[in-house]
């Protein structure tokens, strides 16, 4: 009889997986191993409130973990789960059902949950480490916050959601902010040209500058002090004054510890629609690291880097794993296809952009409600994303919460 499930990764996905295992009746031992020193906490505020709120600017990481909004609620059922923190799993031997941590501990498991998420990609340029930041963890946010003082020249490389949120936060703190983005508009892929340009103009009105169609070729020190970052040099030779550089150029899945097991790790961990890893009964994956097919959008397995997915995949993965571990129940019923509706939001200055479904690769984009005239921030604009006449996504920018709610229901039947 199986006796221990180990969850590797102690963030949103890991916590929700542990909770769902208990909710679904797993009464055996349950251990969560996490690389960070903190219990699971909420990441979205890191690029928003944690950077800008003056009332929390003096809090330490340990205090912020419990701060409203940053704290993740833990269900009572996980009280007896052991959290092994500040420890990374170095390698896994799936055929032996054992894990090895970087500090040399061996952990045997009967069931394994992979919840190791992502880490930021970095620019392949050496030097100026003290002035370069990426944002994934609470410790990252605290380090960055300390440098965002009024008048500081901040260059944000990457105009995706996280880059634009950091730009807005730094601008609110009185920094002089420039976003460098290789595409023709920030957030172009998820939003489409028209909405992306509208949000760009909104940022510019608040004081953020954009260098579009450009990338970074090198970094330069100051004339007075060559050891301190002074400028970011772009591929067209332009030098942008920079005291601080924020790299928001995407992420890589944390999968190296799974190497040597014959798994497809080409973009996260490949799972089936049950969140089972390559047909193994006792290994599942959840959250940002999991690449799985969503029948709503065809059969291609994809990773989804949105907050709602760790909880959705944890539900599915927990029932799959418990079924896999209890031989008695094997094959008794075929569960319904797992087709979660992806949803995301992004808060920039005082505007919320909230989306549902898939917006990339649309072949037609249509304004369903409102428009891009001045006033869109308060009135709200609703944009539909279509592929061959099927609506695959909707984004609402600005407007009221009730308006956003109404449009999600539009998508319930989307496929």
């Amino acid at each position: 009889m199986a006796s221990q499930i180990v969850v590797v990764g102690g963030s949103l996905g890991g916590l929700r997986a542990a909770e769902q295992l208990r909710v679904n009746g797993w009464s055996g031992a349950l251990t969560v191993v996490g690389a960070e020193a903190h219990l699971p906490y909420n990441r979205p505020p890191l690029s928003k409130n944690v950077l800008v709120s003056p009332d929390i600017s003096a809090l330490t990481a340990a205090e912020l973990v419990d701060y409203p909004g940053v704290a993740l609620r833990r269900r009572a059922q996980v009280e007896d789960v052991s959290f092994v923190l500040d420890t990374q799993v170095a390698s896994a031997a799936l055929s032996d059902r054992s894990l090895l941590t970087v500090d040399g501990r061996e952990l045997a498991y009967d069931g394994l949950v992979i919840a190791t998420g992502l880490r930021p990609r970095r620019l392949p340029i050496a030097g100026f480490d003290r002035h370069r930041h990426a944002l994934r963890t609470l410790d990252d946010a605290i380090a960055l916050r300390g440098q965002l003082t009024p008048g500081t020249a901040v260059v944000v490389v990457g105009g995706g959601f996280i880059g634009c949120e950091v730009a807005a936060s730094a601008c609110r703190l009185g920094c002089q902010v420039t976003v460098v983005e290789p595409f023709a508009a920030p957030m172009l892929r998820p939003l489409g040209a028209e909405l992306a340009r509208t949000v760009q103009t909104f940022h510019e009105d608040k004081g953020v500058s954009f260098r579009l169609g450009r990338s970074v070729s090198t970094l330069a020190g100051r004339a007075s002090d060559p050891a301190t970052l002074g400028a970011v040099v772009l591929d067209d030779g332009t030098e942008l004054e920079a005291d601080v550089l924020v790299e928001a150029v995407g992420s890589n899945p944390n999968v190296e510890w799974l190497a040597g097991n014959g798994l497809d790790l080409s973009d996260g961990v490949l799972c089936d629609n049950m969140m089972r890893v390559e047909a193994r009964e006792n290994v599942v994956a959840v959250g940002d690291v999991a690449r799985f097919p969503n029948p709503r959008f065809g059969s291609t397995p994809r990773r989804v880097e949105h907050w709602c997915i760790p909880a959705d995949t944890a539900h599915r993965a927990a029932t799959t794993l418990i079924r896999g571990l209890s031989t008695a129940e094997n094959g008794d019923r075929d569960p319904a296809p797992f087709a979660p509706l992806p949803s995301f939001w992004s808060d920039q200055f005082d505007v919320r952009i909230q989306g549902f479904g898939r917006t990339e690769h649309a072949d037609r984009i249509e304004v369903l409600e409102g428009g891009f005239a001045p006033g869109w921030v308060s009135e709200g604009v609703v944009v539909g994303y279509f592929r061959q006449s099927t609506m695959t996504g909707v984004v609402i920018a600005g407007g009221t919460p009730a308006q956003r709610l109404r449009h999600k229901t539009l998508l319930e039947g989307v496929g």
Binding site: E19, P45, G69, A71, R73, R75, P401, L405
Partner: protein, 62 residues
């Protein structure tokens, strides 16, 4: 079951309303309102609502 929402933290995401429409809704003025002592039969959906709140503003006590 007692449900409270930290209204200082609630950021009107509305996710709770999808998970537990019997308990949470937006009032006419756009503010979130909720049933503070929902029936025990709604526990699973209220737990769900608390899980999916992006700012984790919902508390459940017995």
């Amino acid at each position: 079951m007692k449900v409270t929402v930290d209204t200082a933290v609630c950021a009107d995401h509305g996710q709770c309303i999808f998970s537990a429409p019997q308990v949470f809704e937006f009032a006419e003025d756009g503010k979130l309102v909720w049933e503070p002592s929902p029936d025990e039969s709604l526990r699973a959906s209220v737990e769900e609502a608390a899980d999916v709140c992006p700012v984790q503003a919902i508390r459940i006590a017995d």
